[in-house]
Amino acid sequence: MAGSHGPQFFVDNKKGEINELKVSLKNIMSERDNTKRRDVIKKVIAYMTLGIDVSKLFTDMVLISHTDDIVQKKMIYLYLVNYVESNQEQALMAINTFCKDCKRISSQNPKIRGLALRNLCSLRFPGAIEYILSAIQDGLSDPDPYVRKTAIIGLIKLHKYSKNLIVGSSFVNTLYELIRDIDPNVSINAILALNEILEEEGGIAINRRMVIYLLNRINSYTEFGQSTVFDLVAKYEPQAEDEMLDILNILEEKLKHSSGSVVLGCIKVFLNYTRDNQLMIRQVFARIQAPLVTLFTGAEVTGAYEQAYCILAHIHLIISKGAGGIFEGDFKSFFCKFDEPTYIKFMKIDILTMIVSDQTVEDVINELSAYVTDVNAEISKKSIQAISKVAVRIPFACVAIVRQLLSFLSLNIDYVITETLVAMKDLVRKYRELTYEILAEIENSLEIASDEGKAAIIWMIGEFGEEITDAPYIIENIISNLIANENYQITHAVLSATVRLFLKRAPEMRDILSSLYSKLISECDNPDIMDRAGFYYQLLRQDPSIANEVLNCEKHPIQNFLEDDCFDLQDILTNEFNQLSVIYQKPAKQIIKPKAELTVPEPEQVTQVVNDLLSLDQVNLSENAFKIDTEFVMVSDDFQQMWMTVPDCIKYENRLSRYINIQEVENLMASVGINCIASGDQMGTLKFFFYAKDSGSDVLFLAEFVIVLAAKEASLCVKCHDKTAAENFKRVFLQASSSFLQS
């Protein structure tokens, strides 16, 4: 190592390389050959990605940024963005470079202008706002669509950075105008931007002219653009039926589009427009059936199961809204294939139970039975549940279905048996006439079934004990094998069933019941079960006939499924069709987490109330003494005259805690009775003139308020004859502006 080189040379090696780069950067400044220039810049980027600090070259990189070569630009921008936040001075240099590149005079190539603008808009520090605003302003009116569309996205970025900068500014109007831009991408971006910026007002305001305009040029948009437009059109409410039909006629051809999101977007419009018209909604269902089936079968064939899943979820929703009938003929399309993912199979099995009819029930049951032997236990269970659902839905087939279910018991697979028993338990609640058929078969399954299945059998023995000759002996057997503390679910079921059976067949059950109680007392320590046992005991001691009324009462027959009654929820979903809500079958507010900033103001309010309580008298006193007259109006001539004569009374300076626009300041002040007579925006400097009058003493206040956005500075100058009253005015003013001034 020592060799001929001195150690200090070795240590300086890295620095030496950077210096070398610095020299070569200087050399290529006048170089014409782009390949040579690129090579040098590439070396800088390579060092940067390796984690070596090359921030020293900042000045040189800025100097060589004057080029038309897009490859070099991309690399230089990457470098600038990387180092911009480390140093304030450098930041300004970078901003200058971007701003220059955004201008048409310095860069002819629109791609470079767009690129520079995009990079500029992604900078996140206070000093940059002013520059970004003016660059976006220029970008929005650029002759090239690429720059315009980038500028619009820049506006959204700014809006996210500072909430109130864009809302209420002239940019909103510009965006509305840009919807009519000749370029489709610009037009779509303008819609997207307005939707985000005006989110709190419910998104973009839509009218008839806009709808017609957008639909007329619908074919010029990409599929993503078309989906966006349809979302917008769905929000519009047509004035008359003719108008609605016109729109739907234009949209109908879009049902043939190959893109899932376009077709679903289109269906959303159809569903929203015909929501209240029962006759038309039938026609709509009939019309959308074929496109939906094609979409999901098409997605399956290409292996895009995720898309098929999404479309099946929408079909599921439409069916649960009452369109079951139209998919009835297509029921075979919902048969599962062997190699499909589980989530698709689940969805299809669900749909099959919803569209099954008297004609198709046989095929559907045969098909569902085939899934019971599926290797995947989840599918097997799901199909047994589905079969029992079908039995509830189609009463005339129930006998055949129960026989089918009973045949599963001989498969000797524990989860199949358990699930079948549970399903049959549910079925006998609706079809009591089937009891005999079922009871004859199930006893043998008692040993194989798992807890849930056992509990189902025990429940049935309790319920129909009078019809099973050896019911007491079965129960006796179960009790003798029972370990009370091991399984609460079964113990619970046994307890209920034994008591109920006792009420039906007292002579045989007496001893059995007492043996159960003695077992429970000696072994069981579960409070729930002990409570229940105590309750039964009391009930029986009181009067067995009352106990019989309570425990073996007439049960209401089951008419229909719970989900059929959830129409309210389904209506909410119409508004959120083609969105995540459909997948989860839940309205947006249940699945989207609320935005973080909304939760912040609440604690402040609480503390304010506390303050009020503590210092109630004081506040009231001062309010009595000083109250601004909200009715008072002043004309501008009077204002001007007074402004010249009245001396400055109070001067006050502070810094902004956030960015704000003219409209918001005026609104805040108007809410406390301070009126604005004139305001204006000069290159990021906001200037306001306010006036107000104290209703008690009739003292007039004039004020000048200046905000420098870039520096985040605010200054207030109050003119008034009365110094103490002016202090009061200042207090009200600062209270009103507390949301944007630093405390």
Binding site: D183, P184, S227, K256, I591
Partner: protein
């Protein structure tokens, strides 16, 4: 919409991470990587919600593409967009899409992700258009400014799919009608479901701005032309490439369009009526206790004698504990493949209107596991050239261009097995 886009491998390692909005943080995203992708659950759950963040993912070739979002997004659009990304990457990587090609091209991928999405909103996604102004990795190709401006006009212009000024020496157009037959037969041999999902692929090498009109034996379109004897077939549903004028199709079922340059999918369609099933399977499974199964399978080709099927592969599933198999076939080769748990019977060339039989006996090994054999269906894979299961025929393709050239047209038909299964 999308707050970030990720590409992950099967172990849940992040290959590409591009964040567009800060409402979803990298820590949140990494939860998804470890809890879902690394746990191998991603392929079972296309849409997952963790702590209020929604992850929409698709998987292809061991790569999982994820879009994370915190809002009530348009799911179909995002899934479609992710598939579009795969297409785009394939277009750039020369058809390849796997972990190696992603690692090799990561600079290019980041450059692409910059261009096709801005702040989470999709921008330019047409590979043909993008290709013209993203140079491979940004350094391989030199591009003149005029070209870039030209590309930009197309990127944002009205006929987004076709640039101006294309010129070919030989004007040619190739039409491929590709049909996938999906059949599901019950164990008794009745057809449970059958449908054909077809696609018409066009490779156009045409100069300038040609106007094309495409005609097929669609029942509804031919109803207006009385001279025709052929009744035509009834098509359940058709979806077109965006270049087709849908308004014109609605009016008189005429398919007119200005084609994009190169290969594109003109239309996809679905037919469920009167399908000519190319093969009929007749299996018999005879079980002798737990030790032996005898299988006999008769396969009959139902298409014309002049035609033939190629690459016929029949997969005859056997239980997992299969030991020794004695298989006898007249033609093709059949052997037991343990990794498939099936007897694979391969026939290179299967003439029309003929019948082949396989006979086999399978000896089972006794095992301790009592798991029941799931009996997957027999499936068959094949290609039948110059045959359409739906009966669809191309009647004409007229190309009209100002310079009045006569293009050479080629038409091919092929029917493939989609999911062609026979339960046992």
């Amino acid at each position: 919409m999308a707050s970030s886009i990720l590409l992950l491998n099967t172990r849940g390692e992040v290959l590409i991470y591009r964040s567009y909005r800060d409402d979803v943080s990298r820590t949140e995203v990494s939860q998804f990587c470890t809890q879902v992708v690394a746990a191998k659950e991603a392929s079972e759950r296309p849409i997952v919600t963790l702590n209020g963040v929604h992850y929409i993912n698709i998987s292809q070739n061991t790569i999982t593409l994820v879009a994370a979002s915190a809002s009530n997004v348009n799911t179909a659009m995002i899934i479609q967009f992710l598939y579009k990304l795969i297409d785009l990457f394939k277009a750039y990587f020369g058809g390849e899409f796997n972990e190696a090609s992603i690692r090799k091209n990561y600079v290019l991928i980041y450059e692409l992700l910059d261009e096709i999405i801005d702040f989470g909103l999709p921008q330019i996604t047409e590979p043909e258009v993008l290709k013209q102004f993203i140079t491979q990795g940004g350094i391989k190709k030199d591009m003149k400014d005029e070209q870039i401006i030209g590309a930009l006009i197309q990127a944002t212009g009205a006929t987004s799919w076709r640039p101006e000024g294309i010129r070919y020496k030989r004007n040619e157009v190739y039409i491929d009608v590709i049909e996938n037959v999906n059949v599901l037969m019950s164990s008794k041999g009745t057809v449970l479901r059958s449908d054909v999902s077809g696609q018409v692929m066009v490779k156009s090498q045409l100069s300038f701005m040609p106007e094309c009109k495409f005609g097929m034996n669609d029942k509804l379109a031919m109803a207006s032309e009385t001279q025709s004897l052929d009744k035509g077939i009834s098509i359940d549903d058709i979806k077109f490439h965006q270049c087709v004028r849908l308004g014109k199709f609605d009016k008189d079922r005429a398919i007119t369009f200005i084609p994009p340059d190169g290969i594109f999918e003109l239309m996809t369609y679905r037919v469920t009526e009167n399908i000519n099933l190319p093969f009929k399977l007749m299996p018999i499974y005879q079980e002798y206790g737990n030790a032996k199964i005898e299988i006999s399978l008769k396969v009959k080709s139902m298409f014309d004698r002049n035609l033939f099927a190629t690459n016929v592969v029949i997969k005859i599933p056997t239980p997992r504990n299969t030991g020794k198999c004695n298989i006898f076939v007249v033609s093709g080769k059949a052997k037991y493949e343990p990794e498939q748990s099936a007897i694979m019977w391969r026939i290179r060339r299967f003439p029309g209107d003929s019948e082949y039989t396989m006979r086999g006996s399978v000896n089972l090994v006794t095992t301790s596991s009592e798991k029941v054999w799931s009996k997957p269906p027999i499936s068959i894979d094949f290609q039948v050239p110059m045959f359409t299961a739906s009966g669809l025929r191309v009647r004409f393709l007229r190309v009209i261009e100002k310079s009045n050239y006569k293009p050479i047209k080629w038409i091919r038909y092929i029917t493939k097995a989609g999911s062609y299964q026979h339960r046992i």
